[in-house]
């Protein structure tokens, strides 16, 4: 089981990259009591039947690992949401893409910690492949004040070049951590 919510989202983002998505959008909206996550991609999508199977832990499409019989990314998410009073919805259309809407109840004592968001963004930006990833992080404080930032993979690649070069990855990590500075 994943330790933090950000690890859980990383798993789902990796699914989008592996589904061959050209564009992935991730929105994180944190309010006092809730964290809302919206993830959409234009990857290969799933049929209704495949989507039902993806919710089962003892199913995988057999493409990645021919003889394996487990796929735990989505089941982990469902389990967490069900045990902690959250909400979860997944829609998918074959050859069109997949979208996920999740709400975590941050007030529930059993909800995992949020984890390291800039760490998640670093990893999600650094998967191999030619995809656009747009991340919007927004926080609404108790008094209604909004803070946040937006990241675009292509824009950052234009500046840093290949993220797999350690020098570029280190600068990207510094940049992402610094974006958290002015959040309330």
């Amino acid at each position: 089981m994943h330790y933090s919510l950000s690890d859980m989202i990383l798993d789902l983002l990796q699914n989008s990259v592996e589904a061959g998505a050209r564009e992935i959008n991730l929105e994180l909206l944190r309010e006092q009591k809730n964290l809302t996550v919206r993830l959409t991609d234009n990857g290969c999508g799933m049929t209704e039947g495949e989507l039902e199977k993806a919710k089962e832990p003892f199913f995988t499409d057999g493409i990645k690992h021919k003889h394996r019989r487990v796929g735990l990314g989505i089941p982990f998410l469902i389990q967490t949401v069900e045990q902690t009073g959250g909400l979860f919805d997944i829609q998918s259309e074959k050859n069109m893409g997949t979208s996920l809407n999740i709400q975590f109840d941050l007030g529930n004592v059993d909800t995992p910690p949020e984890g390291d968001w800039p760490g998640l963004f670093l990893q999600a930006l650094c998967f191999e492949g030619d995809y656009e990833l747009i991340i919007r992080r927004m926080i609404i404080s108790e008094n209604g004040e909004e803070t946040g930032y937006e990241l675009r993979r292509t824009e950052l690649q234009d500046i840093l070049g290949d993220f797999t070069e350690s020098g570029a990855m280190l600068l990207l990590r510094d940049y992402l951590r610094s974006q958290e500075e002015e959040l309330s």
Binding site: G119, F127, I159, L170, D174
Partner: protein, 129 residues
């Protein structure tokens, strides 16, 4: 650390590049590949990745290639990491936390010495192509 702008990031990257050219670093032949499947994530592969990046930074190794991959089929030994260094056998290490990651950089990559306690033989049979 104040919030960095894209322009500041661009300047830092360009000075880093000229420093790398000045040092005339060798080609990008050293690869660190971190397993980031569900199993890797659950076992703390993120901590391993941060450990690699911190040690790379400490030793100014700006030209190492760091990649993430999916499950390597060694879920029982996660986090797993494959290390490729010229003149060394390609090696898969298991149970790599931040401390072991630092050891891999300083021993295996910098001094061409294997980190004995963490070597896994090879990817699992059903994963090898």
């Amino acid at each position: 650390m104040a919030k960095m702008t894209l322009e500041e990031l661009r300047k830092l990257r360009s000075s880093q590049k000229s420093e790398m050219e000045r040092r005339d670093v060798e080609g990008k032949e050293t690869h660190i590949i971190v397993g980031m499947g569900t199993c890797g994530i659950a076992a703390g592969a993120k901590g391993a990745l941060d450990g690699f990046l911190d040690t790379i930074k400490k030793n100014n190794l700006d030209d190492v290639v760091v990649k993430q991959t999916g499950c390597m089929g060694l879920c029982y030994a996660e986090p797993t990491v494959e290390v490729k260094v010229p003149g060394m056998p390609d090696t898969i290490y298991g149970n790599v936390d931040a401390k072991v990651a630092a050891e891999i950089v300083e021993k295996h990559i910098m001094h061409k010495e294997l980190v004995q306690d963490h070597i896994q033989d090879k990817p699992a049979g059903d994963i090898i192509k």
